[in-house]
């Protein structure tokens, strides 16, 4: 880090003239004291919502998915929308930790830990939906996993995109979890070395695996970390590509388009960054992390949101152009129906939230205004949910036979289940910011000198005897 990291042309990544020891204190201090009233309020609220959601999931598994608002024309609606929504949210974390690591984007160090945690929790929420959708989820393992059995043996169908999805989502979850856990090892060791209570020492001693900061270990660790970044980079792109193939390999007008893989991946990054913005804006304010998650960090993420939001807008336009250019009347009808049919309200919510609202980010003052960013990120979250709803429901509700055209309205079961997954997501997130270091300070320490004048020293201000020699 002693070379280019000291460039005076760069703006510092950490503000407030922090020393190495200050970072440890700031991050570890927030998980060592007693939780605040605000934390208890948030955690209990999230837990309650999660509990109501879990009860509703139990109800529909017990009663059957006839409790949903599906009909014979609209066979996929809320459930798959929520699945794709949550998987999309889960894309920013590994993008930040893997792709930005390969691109040497040092600003990622302040935000990667919480973004990775968010990824893992979002994928858990996503996995709930196909699980319930099986109807008899206790047979899930029989249907989804290839293993020798006494039914023929009957195997899973490796030609099916839904099976590819099983492999993609479970691999993504496992590798993201491993990447997150390995990133946590050195930081957990720091918490272990500060711990006073035996229980804390035992917990952090277990999850830090005996890490001692030896450079011989850092040598393997850094290589392994880079390998994980390299493995996860195509993985991030592959997951939403495969999710998009659930639709793109079908013959439904509005679904079977070759633009889907890049369109879905960009949309996932867009929605993931919006959710990272939402959570970090709250976290930096309530946990007083403004020195680490600076306005510059927010601005960089806002630029990514602007870029991906505009690319999503380009994809919406391209879909219409190709529908017209293809000369296929079914394809043309699907898109005209999308913008002007019974679900046009959903289409225009999607366009205004995803394409219009991020355009405010062209202005630097607005990109650096946390309130504007917060409101904008909520709009994007809503818009990206509607994007999946529009793709799935409006493509299905008017099929090839006008006598079977119908409309779709969700039931309370579907709505409460979706709200319940937010409860699960935030319960996990609240537990995470209490139990584990929410900022990867082991990495932040490595970029501290970034943009600082040369010769800036890490003197922590403690008075130790200099040059003291002890002989054994």
């Amino acid at each position: 880090m002693s070379g280019n990291a000291c460039s005076p042309l760069r703006e510092p990544l950490v503000l407030g003239g922090k020393k190495l020891g200050d970072i440890t204190q700031d991050v570890c201090g927030s998980i060592e004291g007693k939780p605040s009233t605000l934390w208890w309020f948030g955690f209990l609220l999230a837990l309650t919502v999660a509990g109501i959601g879990a009860a509703t999931m139990g109800y529909q598994i017990y009663t059957g998915i006839g409790t949903w608002g599906l009909n014979k024309t609209v066979g996929w609606a809320f459930d798959i929308t929520n699945f794709v929504f949550w998987v999309g949210i889960g894309h920013a974390g590994t993008l930040i930790s893997a792709i930005l690591c390969l691109f040497r984007q040092k600003w990622r160090t302040s935000v990667n830990r919480s973004a990775e945690a968010m990824t893992i929790f979002a994928v858990i929420c996503a996995a709930i939906f196909p699980f319930i959708h099986m109807g008899r989820p206790w047979f899930g393992a029989f249907w989804a996993l290839p293993y020798p059995n006494f039914r023929g043996p009957l195997w899973v169908n490796f030609r099916s995109p839904l099976l590819w999805d099983v492999f993609a989502i479970s691999t993504y979850f496992t590798i993201s979890l491993v990447f997150w856990f390995i990133g946590l090892i050195p930081d957990n060791a720091t918490v272990r070395d500060r711990a006073k209570h035996w229980l804390r020492r035992a917990f952090y001693g277990t999850v830090s695996l005996g890490w001692d900061g030896s450079v011989k270990k850092w040598n393997h660790y850094e290589t392994a970390y880079l390998i994980f970044a390299g493995l996860s980079t195509p993985l991030v792109v592959s997951v939403h590509t495969i999710v998009s193939m659930d639709f793109a390999t079908s013959v439904i007008p509005g679904w079977h388009t070759t633009i889907f893989p890049p369109y879905f991946v960009i949309g996932a990054i867009f929605s993931g960054f919006a959710m990272v913005q939402t959570l970090l804006l709250v976290a930096r304010k309530t946990m007083r992390l403004e020195s680490y998650i600076t306005v510059n960090h927010l601005e960089v993420m806002a630029k990514i949101i602007l870029l991906t939001g505009s690319l999503v807008g380009l994809a919406y336009g391209t879909e219409f152009f190709i529908a017209w250019y293809s000369g296929s009347q079914y394809e043309q009808f699907a898109f005209i129906n999308r913008a002007t049919g019974p679900f046009s309200w959903a289409y225009w919510i999607m366009v205004s939230c995803n394409v219009l609202s991020p355009q405010v980010l062209w202005f630097r003052a607005l990109r650096r205004n946390p309130v504007v960013l917060f409101i904008m990120s909520i709009f994007v979250n809503i818009g990206m949910w509607f994007e999946r709803f529009v793709i799935i429901v409006t493509s299905l509700h008017r099929d090839f036979l006008p006598s079977s055209w119908s409309y779709y309205t969700p039931t309370w079961v579907e709505a409460v289940t979706f709200i319940g997954t937010f409860g699960i997501f935030f319960t996990c997130f609240f537990l995470f910011i209490r139990l584990l270091p929410a900022i990867a300070f082991g990495e932040v320490k490595g970029v501290m000198k970034w943009g600082q004048p040369k010769g800036h020293s890490h003197d922590a201000g403690h008075s130790h005897a200099h040059g003291e020699v002890k002989h054994a």
Partner: protein, 183 residues
């Protein structure tokens, strides 16, 4: 067998980098260097070779690929071959997503195991910290006290790079044990 070590504690990564380079020039054998974060260039300055863990990933990734290919070939072409509209029962393009995922999954999990084995990390391991602040804001160079060692030269070198403290340790015990038992 525990080795006797002479250690310098530093406050700045650039000092550590400089001191490590000079230790090597002076012919001292460096037992290890302890840092709270990965200091870039320090592993090369210590003369450590590139980690062999890349080969673990490569081998196990290839293993995952082979496993996936054999499984899918066996299932779709041999054990329960299906005639889907007269198409081949070995649809290679349809295998690509699962092949990729299995390569990454098995390669990634083995990289994790490889890292734990290479670094001897396991739950419940006692790290035997040689200084209480090495995971916080201090850096330590541990030099072996063998025939290449010269205490006068070493302490002069450490002092030149603003060492805050110098300690005698052995490679098995942490600083508390060594201080309590000897000084």
């Amino acid at each position: 067998m525990p080795e006797l070590l002479y250690c310098g504690v530093f406050k700045d990564d650039e000092d550590v980098l400089g001191a490590v380079k000079e230790c090597r020039e002076a012919g001292f054998d460096i037992h290890d260097v302890y840092t709270p974060y990965a200091v870039h260039g320090l592993d090369r300055a210590m003369g450590l070779p590139f980690s062999k863990i890349t080969w673990v990933t490569f081998g196990c990734g290839l293993g995952g690929l082979t496993f996936g290919l054999s499984l899918m070939t066996y299932v779709t072409d041999y054990d329960w071959a299906m005639n889907v509209g007269g198409k081949s029962s070995l649809p290679f393009p349809a295998f690509v997503p699962v092949l990729f995922e299995l390569t990454v999954l098995i390669g990634g999990l083995c990289t994790m195991l490889g890292l734990f084995i290479f670094c001897r990390l396991y739950p419940g391991k006692n790290p035997k910290m040689k200084h209480p602040r090495l995971t916080d804001d201090r850096f330590m160079i541990a030099v072996k006290k063998n025939q290449n060692f010269n205490i006068g030269r070493a302490s002069e070198l450490f002092r030149k790079f603003h060492a805050e403290q110098m300690l005698d340790l052995d490679s098995e015990y942490d600083c508390f044990a060594s201080q309590g038992g000897t000084s």
